[in-house]
């Protein structure tokens, strides 16, 4: 059991290093009036991508996602980038912690 997990870790390490050499796709997300736009982004499975988040509000926001295991503070009127993936197919919701009633979004992996 232990060995198989270890093997899996090592193998995926190799898999990863071959993936990282490929170029990383960028996706632009804008925050305005505490809304993400686009609020849905579809990406390919097994690929690392980078989200370029542009916060046009004066207030800070925290990009957060439990299924994506991500948390990033974005100040008012500034940009930030968040690497995600490689991911398995599925739906991965994210939200803005500081204004989560409106700031909701979804990464769809196909």
């Amino acid at each position: 059991m232990k060995q198989s997990i270890l093997l899996q870790i090592i193998l995926s390490g190799f898999l990863y290093s071959s993936l990282v050499s490929a170029e990383t796709l960028e996706y632009e997300i804008t925050i305005k009036n505490h809304l993400f736009s686009p609020s849905e982004i579809t990406i390919e499975s097994g690929k690392k991508v980078v989200l370029m988040i542009d916060n046009q509000d004066a207030t800070a926001e925290e990009f957060e996602s439990y299924p994506l295991n991500r948390e990033k503070l974005i100040r008012g009127k500034s940009r930030a980038k968040v690497f995600i993936g490689p991911l398995k197919p599925g739906r991965y919701p994210f939200f803005g912690e500081f204004f989560h009633e409106t700031a909701q979004g979804m990464i769809i992996v196909k």
Binding site: S12, A60, Y66, P67
Partner: protein, 277 residues
């Protein structure tokens, strides 16, 4: 108002738990309160400074300064917490048994207190700067500043209360259980933070995630739940960890465990030598 209270509470929970445990662990050392207060003060000062100067920091390293800074700060906490639990399990126990006023005890106690200062300062610095940025952003946007301030205050007090409950809870344990319990808790805190450091580095694209996720318990006990976020801080629980996070976690725990074993073994050999001569 409630929203603000919850957000502030969640940010402060981790710092409160860390401080509660570490304050209990150093409870018997003279002058501890002074060092604890100094740590809190320096942490707050750093948090405000970081909030004001932080935009340069975020732009640093191609927009990944925040992750790298957090990874660095968390790593300092990992080392300090590891030192603390190793110290408690090897020297600390014997010192607290012997006379507290001996020169050695004071010297050793000072070391533990400077570690306390760093751990407390770092815990407040990290979470505190996020709270400052959040509250500043809202107040700058002109939204209801009063109810927001009230909410922030309620969140802060609830967080402090949780820390205090942990602190008094630990102090009420019987002595043997107290030493074992706090030492084990600190070891897990340290391992959990090592896993957090790994997560920051993965997020910044500096190290591979290996398997992502290694397991998925988010339908059983999500990190978003109250119990989940509590266990996340206390034991480093993660419902969907990356492989590399588990590696960091396990390596930290094993390092602490074997360091304690090895040092206790050395100590025993030394005392045996003393007894023979």
């Amino acid at each position: 108002m409630f929203e603000t209270a919850i957000i502030v509470f969640r940010e402060i929970l981790e710092a409160a738990i860390v401080i509660g445990v570490i304050a209990a662990a150093t409870q018997a050392i003279p002058n501890r309160n002074k060092w604890l207060l100094a740590g809190i003060f320096l942490g707050l000062l750093g948090a405000v400074l970081l909030a004001y100067l932080g935009s340069e920091l975020s732009d640093f390293a191609d927009g990944l300064g925040q992750e790298l800074f957090n990874a660095g700060v968390v790593s300092i906490a990992v080392v300090m917490l590891a030192w603390q639990t190793i110290w408690m399990s090897t020297r600390g126990a014997s010192i607290s048994k012997d006379a507290k006023s001996t020169g050695l005890a004071i010297k050793e106690g000072q070391k533990a207190l400077s570690v306390l200062l760093v751990i407390v300062g770092v815990a407040i610095l990290r979470e505190g700067s996020e709270i400052v940025i959040f509250l500043y952003g809202i107040s700058a946007s002109g939204a209801q500043a009063n109810s927001m301030l009230l909410g922030g205050g309620i969140g802060l007090l609830s967080g402090v209360l949780v820390g205090f409950i942990i602190y008094t809870g630990l102090l009420h344990l019987p002595v043997r259980l107290f030493f074992k319990g706090t030492a084990i808790l600190i070891a897990f805190l340290s391992a959990g933070m090592a896993s957090q450091a790994a997560n920051y580095l993965v997020q910044a694209n500096k190290i591979p995630a290996l398997v992502s996720p290694l397991w998925d318990l988010s339908s059983v006990l999500p990190n978003a739940s109250l119990l989940g976020s509590f266990l996340q801080t206390l034991l480093g629980y993660n419902a969907r960890p990356d492989g590399i996070q588990v590696v960091f976690y396990v390596v930290t725990l094993l390092t602490i465990f074997f360091a304690i074993k090895w040092l206790n073994h050395q100590n025993k050999r030394l005392t045996r030598k003393d007894a023979m001569s």
